[in-house]
């Protein structure tokens, strides 16, 4: 569900990365662009956050201490399939990209990424989430 920033409805995003300076700064920049952003510094914290605050879009690193991004992606898609996940990683393996997409990642971006590219991807992911929610609602005819 979308959150609020300055009284306006905002896309709720969760940024997950163990590079704290990176993710904190990125979060500030996302807030400046009207997103309702929060951060988690590892996979375990990200999964805990999901229990109280389900984001519209999660931006997720792959290689992290403890539970890695691939496992977080797999679990999120099981428990909260409506949440869209964008992988943002420094890891460039084709195999990982293939696996992430197979597990349901919306996009796979390489670090460092331009902020405009990331914003566009988040907006598209949010759009996809809205469309999926409409498609899942029973139509008038099927309700009769």
């Amino acid at each position: 569900m979308a959150g609020e920033v300055n009284g306006k409805t905002a896309i709720r995003i969760l940024l997950v990365d163990d590079e704290e300076e990176f993710v904190t700064t990125l979060s500030e920049r996302m807030e400046m662009r009207g997103f309702d952003a929060s951060v988690a510094f590892d996979g375990q914290k990200a999964l805990e956050t999901l229990k109280t605050r389900v984001p519209d879009v999660m931006v997720l690193d792959l290689r992290m201490p403890g539970i890695d991004g691939m496992e977080v992606l797999e679990r999120v898609k099981k428990t909260n399939p409506e949440a869209q996940v964008i992988i943002l990683t420094g890891h460039g393996s084709y195999k990982d990209e293939e696996q992430a997409r197979r597990l349901g990642a919306f996009d796979y971006l390489q670090k460092p990424v331009g902020v405009d590219t990331l914003v566009k991807s988040i907006q598209k992911a949010y759009q996809q989430k809205i469309e999926s929610a409409y498609a899942a609602e029973p139509s008038d005819e099927s309700q009769r």
Binding site: F22, P65, P112
Partner: protein
């Protein structure tokens, strides 16, 4: 491609992927910090005063990351030159520090601490094959990481053992396995087989101390 070349390429591949990952993180932090400064300036030129502290923080972050990047690049460059000569003179303690800086991320991902140390702080000069030395250190680390749980510590200590230069690999930790479990796990790992083969090529002896979690690479 013969088996030795394949093994060397696989080793270089893992090291390079790990280090370029670190570089990408550094570049991403610099990019976001510079981007934040640009965002602040774009609000209004006056915004710089309001956000002065954040602005200064971003500037410091950029400087620190540049330092981190330059150190990493120098170490990576030195590592990349390791196959240039079959034999070179090295200071063992300095080589341990160098190796640990390059591979610290492998340990960090498992919540394990990796540290270089030297016995009594003594300088130990050796003449050896630099590439093979890096490879035996890498396989030693890889084998330890495959059996140790989180919160353990691995220390690579440059030492003298029976008049020979040696690397002592010492593992500790509250949750660490018993010596028996540790050495059984090591011997079952793929890295241990590679370690034995490469140690032989380097003319190094592998000696296990089964009283605790410690083994030695004795360089002859």
């Amino acid at each position: 491609m013969n088996q030795e070349t394949e093994k060397t390429l696989a080793f270089f591949g893992r090291m390079t992927a790990n280090l370029t990952h670190e570089f990408k993180n550094i570049l991403a932090i610099i990019q976001e910090s510079a981007g934040l400064m640009e965002d602040i300036m774009a609000i209004s030129p006056l915004a710089k005063d309001k956000y002065q502290e954040r602005f200064n923080n971003s500037m410091n972050t950029i400087k620190n990351q540049l330092q981190r990047g330059m150190e990493m690049a120098s170490r990576f460059n030195r590592f990349a030159h390791s196959p240039d000569h079959n034999s070179a003179e090295l200071e063992l303690g300095e080589t341990m520090v160098h190796f640990c800086t390059l591979t610290e991320r492998f340990a960090r991902l498992k919540h394990i601490t990796l540290q270089a140390d030297s016995q009594n702080g003594q300088e130990i000069k050796i003449t050896t094959n630099p590439l093979l030395l890096y490879m035996v250190l890498f396989y030693s680390l890889d084998a330890c990481l495959s059996v140790l749980p989180a919160q353990c510590e691995i220390r690579l200590i440059s030492a003298k053992k029976d008049e020979n230069a040696a690397v002592e690999i010492a593992c500790t930790g509250k949750q660490a396995p018993s010596p028996e479990q540790f050495f059984t796990g090591l011997r079952q790992s793929n890295a241990w087989g590679e370690l034995e083969n490469t140690a032989e090529q380097l003319n190094a002896e592998l000696k296990c101390n089964t009283d605790d979690l410690r083994f030695y690479l004795i360089l002859k």
